[in-house]
Every structure is written in structure tokens, then in C-alpha cells.
Symmetry: C2
Subunit: 359 residues, 2 copies
DNA sequence: CTGAAAGCGCTTACAG
DNA sequence: CTGAAAGCGCTTACAG
């Protein structure tokens, strides 16, 4: 690094409404009236102009702390993520949300305040330190591993938040925008059935969160439509090679997979299939019930849900703004995932699709 | 979208120090003293405990807005980008900066306020609206196409900012953290010379910004070391096929390229070489004097500068914080780019490197 | 050792 | 139509 100059410059005092008032020869209250833009008629045009000009000359911007203190609005929206979302391999996941939140906040006339997990609890000891969250008018929340303490603080104080991702709490009614995993799963199963698959397999967690339960409900609902539904299978852990071989023997031609931590389930399935010489999708169709980055798998063209992250983020911001502005709103919104065609689903070997059969 | 509930809910009042004071039978000031944890000895243990307990019972958390109001600081750092940096193909460029800014701001105990170009001038008419920038204590600025009006406003008010990227202004002394393009260019030329190249070509803008001038200075400085420096060439636009052919005829074995808008110069050179059947690097070495995303070129393994974006961003934030806290700081820092080896540079055909010749 | 008071920059009733 | 005043929740000198 090259150092070229050494200058010290203290930050100047920010111009306040009082400064503007002095310059324009009016009272501070009048300045506030004009700048906040209450009703236009009360202050004469001529005074207005003088004040606006003084404000512009001084480079005035309202102090958000003062505004929020007096009970008014900051026009600041928080975006808080529970995990540290900044490790590089998560960017593809995180960035679309940020994008959507940013865009919609801008559209709504709010600025964005970014919180990351470490940001909290800076000044003083942890217990007495406030959540910085309160600086914003409200907050969009994102993350799997929710900080329970923060959450209870939010609920207790009725702080306006909207979750990205479905979130059901026993003791509180939290607003969220999530994905309709049940419906999306049902759709994908129906498409597999339409392609001619008659015996399916499902790999996923046992008793996970809401999302997991929704997917499994969707699966069982639609599998029930099959002529022999009891032949379809479910397994709650990644399959061993032997288990996969047994599934194939029992006639499974398509598998649905919850991605799992770090796409672990998908990676495991891919590896097993390779070892057993089972080709995807020729001998086995695979559909992933999520939208991960596929960092641990070899192929990347998995048929899967595409989660419309930007759209979800935008919707969450809109909901938050409605909440803030006291409008009655739907607090629980689920959007459909888009089925991403991919290259891992095909009609079962030796079978034609229903539609082909018809013709 | 599925709607599940329609509820409107106003936020509850939060417990304040006054509430605690009442409950503990002390004054609000004493509560503040205890909670802020000034010097421990002044308030007797017994009173402390009573206050702490009352605070815990009420679920007290200090109001950050009030805190900032008193302190004159809101511990908010702005990150402002002049271009709309959110188009998807720019993410790779933009994200590392955001990453670095975010990380260092957190480390310094500041929260991040995000500004995008459209954010400015929301309320009221454009001309009368103060820049939202002033919401933050200071701001990190990023972008090629600087908004002159905003910039002059910043300079006039002495608003604390640090630029990412070298920025020299005639009328003001702006703090920045940039890349030392002169030195980095010199280095890469010296390496080419070390590999045995004796006639070089340079493709770049005529009379561009500081960065361009720095690169060209670095180029001419180091080319002067060659036995026949006058044979090295410079061209200020992308080469036509004929021009490239002429360069080759005149003995050019290595070319340095400013990436140009959308990597245009690199793409043009690549295309010309392909049409002329000139293979890179066997017949022509190419080094790119920048670190673009290479979205318009076929190959991506260009030998180039790797700009340490996160590091630069962190450095910018640190400088800003020093500025804010009134410490004397170096206001102009240039960091070295890292030479990214790539696959487009090799010894010239029919030549051995200097070191090989020696052995 | 503790409380009363001023003040940070705003908004919002409330008087003139 | 405009200004004076109160008050948001806190910190920090300043008196007792």
C-alpha cells in the first residue's frame, strides 16, 4: 500500500432544521412542517421556497434517529439474516433475496438497513445491549437457524417483521412469505405419474420443519392416486447402495429427494447410482424438492423446484410496508415454486407416457 | 398465492428506563448509569441489583434511536453505488465489494445502510429532495459514472466519504482506496520481458481516467527498459484484423489490453486472433490489465490482474471509520493488484526465457 | 453517592 | 397562517 497524504478532518456537524430555520428566517417548527410535507396549503409558497432552498444549500437530511424517536417513521427497512450468509458459496442463495428486497424497498421509498448476525450486541455487555433492529421501522428476516432470544424479543414487543420462508410459532402469529412446498411437490409427482411412473421413492428427513412436512404431505397425497400406492416407498435418510438396489428391484423408476444439508441427499443418491451403474434419468428419474446450489454434486442439471427468490423477497417487503402503514394485510403468503425442467427426469424405461399411449 | 389470514396489528410500547426507574424506586438517570455500565463503583451494589432485576422483568432493551440522538452518531455507514449494480451479470463484480464493506462495518461496530441510485430523490420532487446519504454518519462510494451533483453536494458539506477506486478531483481532496495500476502494469510488463518478449503491443483508451493513465505510464516506463523500446506499439482502439496482422509482422509477441467497456477490447482481440489463425498464447501472449467478468469473451483463463475487491472494500470502511472518529488517516491508498497467472501468457515462439538461456 | 435538569433533532398538538 | 412548547428515550455534565 502506498500512502500519499495524511490529513485529519473531523466530521462537520450535520445541518439541522434549526440551521435551516435560522437561514430562512422562520421557526424550526415551520421548517419541519414544510419538509415533512404535511398539508401543502398551510404555508405560503414563498416561505416554502425559501425553506426548501435553505435546506438544499445546507445539504440537509433528516436525522433518522430523531424521527424514529418522536414516533414517526424512519423510512428504513431492516434486512436481517440469522446465518452468516456471506460465505462465498452461499452467495447464489443469498443474493437474489437481497436483490429483491433492495429493489422493492427502493420502489416503496424506503432505504435498506443491513443486519448480519455479528452486528448485534456490539456496545456494552451482551445482556444489556439492545438489538439494533429497532432502528428500522420494520424488518425482513431470513434464515434457518433463528435466534430464539431475538425472536422472542420481537414477538414481545410486537416489532413489525416479515419472515422469508414459512414460519409457524406456537405462541405468536408471525407474518411470512414462503413457498408452497405441498402444492409444488404434488405437481411434480403428478408429472412423474403422467410420464408413466408407477412406483416412486421418496428420500427425506423424518419429522423436520414445516417445509419438510409440507413436502411429504404433498407426496403422500399424490401418490395415493396411483393404482398401487402402497408400492411407493419412503426413506428418511440417504440410501445405502443396497437400499437403492432393493428399490430398483421393487420397481421404483423415479425418486423424489429433499436436498438436505449441503445437498447431501442428492450427492449420496448420485454416488450410489454411479456405483451401481444405474443411469439417471434413463433407468431412474430424480426430482429434487428444493433449489440448492448443488455444490456437492457432480451434475448440476437436476430437475427441481426453482424458488422465485427475488419475487418472494419483493413480496415480503411489500407485506412489511403494508404492515407498517397499518393496512390490513394477508400475513401468510405462499407462492408456488416453478418446476425447473432439468435433465434428470424422463419416462420410465420400456414405458410410454400416458399421452403417447392415448394417441 | 394462498391467503391464510387477515390481521392488522399495531406495535406495542416498549418498556423504557422510566418504567424501570418507577419499579425500582430510583430516578431514570440512575437507571441509565447502571445500564450503560459507566463506572461500577458509583452506585451501590444493592441498588444496581434492584435495577437490573426490574429491567429483566420488564424485558427492557434500550432504544437505539434515542442513544444515537444523544451521541450525535447513529453508527450507520452508507454504501452507495452510482451505477445500478444489481443487474445479474454484474453480481460477480459487485458482490465482493458488498461483502468486504459489510464485514468490516460489522467488525467496526457499524450497521450498513444500502443506497442504490434510484433510492435518491424519492420524497417530493427530485430537485428539492435532500440526499438520503446524510442518513448515515459517512459513506463508501462505488461506481464509474459519478453523479456530479451529488458529488458536489458531498464536497460542499464536507460529508465524510471514501471512494472505492482512485478518484482525483480538481476542486476537492477526496479519500479513496484504489488499485496501483501503474505498478501492477509495470510488473506484468517486466514479467513478459523476463519471458523473452522483446516487442510489445498495448491496446487501450486514449486519455481516459486516472486508471487508464496510470496503466499507460506503467507500460511506457517498463517498455523503456527494452533494447529497442521504439519498436513497441500502442493503439488506442480495438485492433482491426489488418492491424493485428501488421503488429505480428512487426514482431509483436505479446499484447497488453485494457479490458474496456464490457471487456470489448479483449473480445475483439480474441476474435481477430481466431480469424487470423493466431493462437494464444503460442504465437501471441495476451495480458489483460484489469479484472472483468469476461462475459463477452469465449475463453475465461486470461492472464490478468486480480483486483482484491474484498480487501479494498474493507480498507475503505476502515478509512471511513477513522475519518469519522477524527483520527489522522492516510486518505489516499493504492493497493497492488495480484497477477493472476491465467493461460494466455507464454514465452515467445522460438525463444527461451532469460533464465533458461542462462543455464 | 444520587437526583434534577438540559439537550440531542425531530413531530405534533396547541396557542396566538 | 405561523410560532412557542411539549415530549419521544436516552446520556451526561452538574448540583446537592
Amino acid at each position: 500500500m502506498t500512502e500519499q497524504a495524511t490529513v485529519s478532518r473531523g466530521p462537520r456537524r450535520r445541518p439541522t432544521q434549526t440551521d435551516i430555520a435560522k437561514r430562512a428566517g422562520v421557526s424550526q417548527a415551520t421548517v419541519s412542517l414544510v419538509l415533512t410535507g404535511g398539508d401543502g396549503t398551510r404555508i405560503p409558497e414563498e416561505t416554502r421556497d425559501r425553506i426548501m432552498q435553505a435546506a438544499a444549500e445546507l445539504g440537509y437530511a433528516p436525522n433518522p434517529a430523531a424521527r424514529s424517536l418522536v414516533g414517526g417513521r424512519n423510512h428504513l427497512l431492516g434486512f436481517h439474516t440469522f446465518e452468516n450468509v456471506f460465505p462465498a458459496d452461499q452467495n447464489d442463495f443469498y443474493f437474489p433475496f437481497l436483490l429483491g428486497v433492495e429493489r422493492e424497498a427502493t420502489r416503496q421509498g424506503y432505504d435498506l438497513l443491513l443486519f448480519s448476525p455479528e452486528t448485534r450486541g456490539r456496545r456494552g455487555s451482551a445482556s444489556t445491549t439492545p438489538s439494533r433492529l429497532w432502528l428500522a421501522d420494520g424488518c425482513v428476516l431470513l434464515g434457518r437457524h433463528v435466534d430464539r432470544e431475538l425472536l422472542s424479543e420481537i414477538v414481545r414487543n410486537d416489532f413489525p417483521v416479515v419472515f422469508i420462508g414459512r414460519r409457524e410459532l406456537p405462541d405468536a402469529d408471525i407474518a411470512y412469505v414462503g413457498v408452497d412446498y405441498e402444492r409444488s411437490t404434488r405437481r411434480i409427482v403428478e408429472r412423474l405419474i403422467g410420464l408413466g411412473h408407477r412406483v416412486l421413492g421418496y428420500i427425506g428427513e423424518a419429522g423436520g420443519g414445516e417445509q419438510t412436512q409440507d413436502r411429504q404431505r404433498g407426496y403422500f397425497d399424490s401418490v395415493a392416486l396411483l393404482p398401487e400406492p402402497e408400492r411407493s416407498l419412503k426413506h428418511s435418510k440417504p440410501l445405502t447402495d443396497e437400499e437403492l438396489a432393493r428399490w430398483i428391484d421393487r420397481g421404483v423408476t423415479a425418486v423424489l429427494v429433499e436436498p438436505g444439508e449441503d445437498d447431501g441427499n442428492v450427492a449420496a443418491l448420485e454416488a450410489s447410482a454411479r456405483r451401481l451403474g444405474i443411469s439417471i434419468p434413463e433407468q431412474l428419474s430424480v426430482a429434487v424438492l428444493g433449489d440448492p446450489a448443488f455444490t456437492t454434486t457432480t451434475r448440476a442439471d437436476w430437475t427441481r423446484f426453482a424458488v422465485p427468490r427475488e419475487l418472494i423477497a419483493e413480496r415480503a417487503v411489500r407485506m412489511l410496508v403494508e404492515l407498517l402503514e397499518g393496512r390490513a394485510v394477508e400475513q401468510h403468503v405462499l407462492v408456488d415454486a416453478i418446476e425447473e425442467a432439468g435433465g434428470t427426469v424422463a419416462p420410465p424405461a420400456g414405458r410410454t407416457t400416458d399421452s403417447e399411449r392415448r394417441s
